[in-house]
Symmetry: C2
Subunit: 287 residues, 2 copies
């Protein structure tokens, strides 16, 4: 599949500001990963990056729990300055992607303000605080998308869904990562309307997430923490859900939701695993 | 002399913006030098700094002729964010100075917009472009301080001059570095009014500068490029001018301007040279 035929819609609900810089963690992870720049061990940031700037920022009293490497900072400086000059996040993202030598179309779900918050007791925190600062330890009793009512989809988002040859919902957090995309006005209904096959991959394997707090958040919101729970969340637009072989017993329950279960090995430890799973997903959307 | 008794008034005319960051080169060189952080070879930036962020910024199409190290960036990020939050440059500078563990009072000449430009033919460029980007090669036919008419002195600047026990004008560029301070409303007249001794150190030795383009700029503006030319620029407020022993023959001409010439070795190659010259300057302001 040539990059030029691929459109990726990325979550902006985790976007945040540090040191006056606009950080788009999800868009950056996608771009860095595809550019082969991502730190393969951490799964975020730039491979081999140093943290001299951030260490110095401590002298100025800044909190430095959100790690920004020196090379990574260049992306945030560029994004922040271009946004300040009045460019849209979608334009800046497209510039970043092509500066990194990529030919995919990476679209933020929205150019508007949309921010994911979780509440824990009487405290509300943005997603990076919950995820990075507090390492998903606080007991969550709610998830809230600030600005969801007014955030409009970025240019080409709806069109790319409607006109897609096939759509894959990545095995990302269904509540906060995919969820924050689905709340943007028009996106969910476009997924229902599109004639393309919509194929999901369950991030829940054997009742747990491989990484991240999806399981905690699903439980906190009273959603069954299983591939069936994921299928239920996407029920109105999903044609098929790829689930792990460990969950083969759940296939009938998924089928009963009107969704085709596809049972395979979904854990991706090596590049071979990733390519294999991607091939299965692509062949499903074509079916 | 305890740091707490020292006030330094720094030039902001060279301030500039790169990558959306507010850079105050002169204030930073002073703070880094006093904090023992300055790169001793380059004379600017932070000792041992790396340039990973800047190298990455090239990917985003930025010009990178102005070198900003990764550690150095922390200062600019802090300054920029605090200014954006509405703090004055003088407040932010004082915070930076104390964050670096210093106890001197470092004052920007002004919190207002004041920017030094040089013109070369029909082209106008800001001082960093002339100095760093074009390495002082363009033939200069004018110097212009944008905003000089409206820039007000920062808090405590006038008072510190009026109430000083003694004032030393450093051997800095009399046209653009000291000059850009002297054009701020009220500063020059405060230097005339103060009862403190005002002692200058000539940056011109044997008709040339030790570093920087002071000689080129003086010639370009038709000013005699010598310690006498420096004395003439400061004539209305200067009590004494320390000149290099190489210029001993100029002493009578300086005296005839009503300024006491102090002849000594002014080249500072070692810390011992610096301490020696500082002692002479301090003893002159006390005389």
């Amino acid at each position: 599949m040539p990059q030029s035929r691929v459109t990726i819609i990325g979550n902006v609900g985790d976007d945040t500001k540090f040191y006056g810089l606009h950080i788009s963690p999800d868009l950056d992870i996608v771009a860095y990963s595809l550019a082969g720049m991502v730190d393969p061990v951490k799964g975020w940031g730039v491979k081999g990056d140093t943290f001299h700037c951030q260490k110095t920022l401590q002298r100025y009293g800044y909190q430095t729990w959100f790690n920004l490497g020196d090379r990574d900072l260049a992306t945030h400086l560029y994004r922040t300055e271009q946004l300040l000059h009045g460019k849209k996040l979608s334009t800046v993202t497209s510039e970043i992607v092509s500066s990194l030598g990529l030919d995919v179309r990476l679209l933020p779900s929205s150019d508007g303000m949309l921010q994911t918050y979780v509440s824990s007791g009487s405290r509300r925190m943005d997603f990076q605080e919950y995820m990075v600062r507090f390492r998903t330890k606080p007991r969550v009793n709610g998830v809230f998308f600030k600005g969801a009512g007014s955030a409009k989809p970025a240019p080409n988002v709806i069109q790319s869904i409607i006109e897609a040859d096939g759509i894959i919902i990545s095995p990302s957090n269904p509540i906060v990562s995919i969820g924050a995309i689905l709340v943007v006005r028009g996106i969910r209904s476009a997924l229902r309307k599109t004639r393309a096959q919509v194929v999901g991959i369950s991030p829940i394997v054997g009742g747990k997430t491989v990484k991240g707090p999806a399981d905690k958040l699903m439980k906190a919101l009273g959603i069954e923490c299983s591939a069936v729970g994921v299928a239920a969340l996407y029920r109105d637009f999903l044609d098929a859900l790829i689930i792990d072989q460990a969950d083969w017993k759940l296939a009938p329950r998924i089928r009963s939701l009107g969704i085709k279960p596809v049972v395979t090995q979904t854990l991706m430890k090596t590049m071979t695993d990733k390519v294999r799973l991607a091939r299965i997903a692509v062949s499903e959307v074509k079916s």
